[in-house]
């Protein structure tokens, strides 16, 4: 009798185990709020395209912030995101071209030179010649590496930029904006304007030009009027581009000398002559010492007839100069001055900062007037370059290679960096449209891969 009783109790208890061991979860339900995400189109530059590690290829295209954003929008009604995919498994870039012109593929981290460093791989030039346009299947990702806001309404831009030629409906006559409208966006994401300052900065302020903010504003207004005539959407502002690793990895005092080399340089006739001139003009001398020294740069506007000086703290040396600084045969920064094309001096930096500020106030005004969501990427960049961003157990900074956000070109984002940007767009969208678009999991995406 007891046995029977116990077995009954046991069955009840086991049933309880079955029923209660799985906690009841109040599941999250995505919602679109007041926005219609059915046709989502992203318009922008290399960040939108998925350019990373110095090149464009399938890997980056599948981890662009625009693609990640589109994937998150699937749960609130987005019906697909057609991208102008690179056909081959290769990659091609415009920022790294050696003498042979072929090492313009993705950078990879390698220990080949003895220390861990990014090295470019073979590029696939065929990518720039391929045509992927298909009239029956318009593109939702209209991101064009190198594009500025002033290119958006420029007919025949496809003739000027091979990254657009690839997928323009008619490279000779169409504009970026006209092609973006082919997918009839109900919701658009626009992040353009980085290159309006970055092009100049990457040239050390010696060629290209900063787009004047008045022109930036009027072009932006035209672009926004067209894109957002029928569509809701979101616009990203312009982060402080001088905070990216490309301008901060080579520090102003990166020249480390031993006493013998410092003595040798100080005794060099050129520096003796230079310092005599400095004394006569009441300018700073160049005296080397053991340890860290400010790099010597070319400066056409400098009062000294030698037209060289030591770089000041706060001025920037481009990442692209690092090889020739560490190469003792070339000796940029002490044996010969770093050319102005590889330096941003204080005046150039001031121009970049002033104009960026003007751009951002123009973007804020436009978003405000048109009721478009605004993503403050500038604030995120500031956080990244000061305190860093802690997300899901990882700390992200603007440090080259190890910071996690920037890829091996020091300019563009890693997959995780792209996901952080995508989440910033999602938060702005949710706020503006009362939507509940789920955030991406940053840890699902790739960072810099170590060998």
């Amino acid at each position: 009798m007891i046995n029977k009783y116990i077995s009954k109790v046991a069955i009840v208890l086991i049933a309880l185990v079955m029923w209660q061991c799985e906690p009841k979860v109040d599941s999250f339900t995505p919602s679109s709020g007041s926005a219609d995400f059915s046709s989502f189109v992203a318009i922008g530059d290399s960040y939108t395209a998925g350019y990373t590690d110095g090149a464009l290829g399938q890997r980056g295209q599948m981890e662009s912030f625009a693609y990640i954003l589109a994937k998150q929008l699937e749960s609130v009604g987005s019906k697909g995101f057609n991208q102008p995919m690179v056909k081959s498994r290769g990659s091609v870039g415009s920022t790294v071209i050696d003498e042979s012109g072929s090492l313009n593929g993705y950078y990879e981290l390698s220990t080949a030179s003895g220390s861990l460093a990014p090295v470019p791989t073979m590029g696939d030039m065929a990518i720039l010649a391929e045509r992927v346009y298909d009239a029956s299947n318009p593109f939702h990702n209209v991101g064009i590496p190198g594009a500025k806001v002033i290119h958006m309404r420029y007919p025949g831009y496809g003739m000027a930029n091979p990254f657009f030629t690839r997928f323009a409906s008619n490279p000779v006559s169409t504009t970026v904006i006209d092609d973006a409208m082919l997918a009839k966006p109900t919701f658009a994401c626009l992040w353009i304007g980085n290159n309006d300052v970055l092009g100049y900065a990457l040239a050390g302020g010696e060629s290209d030009a900063i787009t004047p903010h008045t022109l930036f504003q009027s072009e932006m207004e035209e672009v926004v009027d067209k894109i957002f005539a029928e569509a809701n959407g979101v616009i990203g502002n312009i982060p402080a581009i001088d905070a990216i690793p490309f301008f901060n990895t080579v520090t102003y005092d990166a020249l480390v000398l031993d006493q013998a080399t410092a003595d040798m340089l100080n005794a060099h006739p050129n520096y003796i002559a230079y310092n005599q001139g400095s004394e006569a003009l009441g300018l700073d001398k160049i005296i080397f010492q053991a340890g860290s020294n400010a790099l010597v740069i070319a400066d056409e506007d400098y009062a000294h007839p030698g037209k060289i000086r030591q770089i000041k703290k706060g001025e920037k040396v481009l990442l692209s100069a690092s090889g020739k600084i560490s190469d003792k045969e070339i000796g940029w920064g002490y044996m010969q001055p770093i050319p102005a094309t590889h330096v941003l001096d204080e005046f150039e930096l001031e121009d970049i900062r002033d104009e960026t500020m003007e751009y951002n106030s123009a973007i804020a005004t436009i978003c405000d007037n048109e009721d478009i969501a605004l993503v403050d990427l500038s604030a995120i960049m500031d956080e990244l370059s000061t305190t860093g961003l802690i997300i899901d157990g990882n700390k992200y900074t603007d440090t080259f290679v190890t910071g996690g956000v920037f890829s091996l070109d020091g300019i563009h984002a890693t997959g995780r960096g792209s996901a952080i940007i995508a989440n910033a767009f999602i938060e702005a969208i949710n706020k503006q449209y009362g939507a509940m678009v789920p955030l991406a999991n940053i840890n699902d995406y790739a960072g810099v891969k170590f060998p």
Binding site: I11, M18, C21, E22, P23, V25, T111, M436, K449
Partner: protein, 405 residues
Amino acid sequence: MKKIFAMAAFIVCGLSLSAEGYQVNLQGNRQTGMGHTGAGLLMGASSMHFNPGGLSFLEKKYEFSLGGSAIFGKNTFQKQSPSTYEASSNNPLGTPFYFYGAMQLNDKMTVGLSVTTPFGNSLVWGDDWDGRLLIQDISLRAIFIQPTFAYKVNDKLGFGVGLMAVNGNVNLNKALPVQSAAGDASVNIKGNTWAFGFNAGVTYKASEALTLGLSYRSEVMVKLEEGDADFSVPGSLAGLYPDTKFKSELPMPSNITFGVGYQVTDKLLLAVDLQHVGWSAYESLDFDFEAPTVPDSKNIRNFENTMIYRLGAEYALKETIDLRAGVYYDTTPIPEDHLTPETPGTNKTGFSAGITWSINDKLDLDGSFLYIHGQKREDGYAPSNFYGTYYTNAVIPGIGLTYSF
């Protein structure tokens, strides 16, 4: 049929922690059945854990008690809104157990030995889950071996003391924020060591019906001097992250329990326990690595002291059957913004039932069943900025034998 049910339950659930922090309160099936009260009860040999003062009132000359529990528990994590991400821990089945053996030396003195597992934690979130940079899996177990001496001053008053030798074992894996083509780097941390403490208690039979008890168990700081850290990192970083030794320490917090037992009628016994747990000893979890290139790891915990409130009842259904029921409320020691997936604590309510079947006048079969419901808790760990809602449930059947003569 029963077997199928049991198998299914086994697959669905796994072992998880059953009380707050990493304390496991399952050290006697009779007490578990009564909401885990015991400081004011005279439960024979198992008093060694609950209140060694009670051991002095052992009824027979010898008593042995042996038992264990199976914790079927599940933790579910739902990432902070807006997110569709959910993960559930897939924990291995583990079994807290106890053994008590006691012998009366004479009218006044009783000695005993207990082996218990009052602390432990076993959680497997998986290698690829979203919180992997905080924890992938953890297994923590402490075995307490306790020789105990009890002295009966008179028929009303007894006290007891025990020396606790603690074997602590930890094994955990977490991902590191470095990637190679093969995925995330990771580290395995493991170690085993001994530490010591004591417990003491006093039992006072205020009247025929009323028993009072006060029990203290000291904090045991388990100090690991030579743990092993095994890094799996990309080859280019292997020189910076060699396999190395580390030092760390983890407190097993003190317990002060005041208990009352009241024999309402011949058949009905009621018990109340108030248990204070000294969790504030757990300030941080630090790993001090021997290799100079491996940065030391400091993880703030800032646990707070807690109270557990327990109520229990025993009803003598007939000569050979005792039925039990109880309830308790266990507050969490983990303050806001300090909640990690390694110990996803929350305020918990436990409902228990139990039975003892006296097979003959020497042998008793003890069974207990405990259901723990954790309040859903929306919180996270600020230093890692990992937030979400944690859900915790557990059902814990237990079985044991008591043999006395």
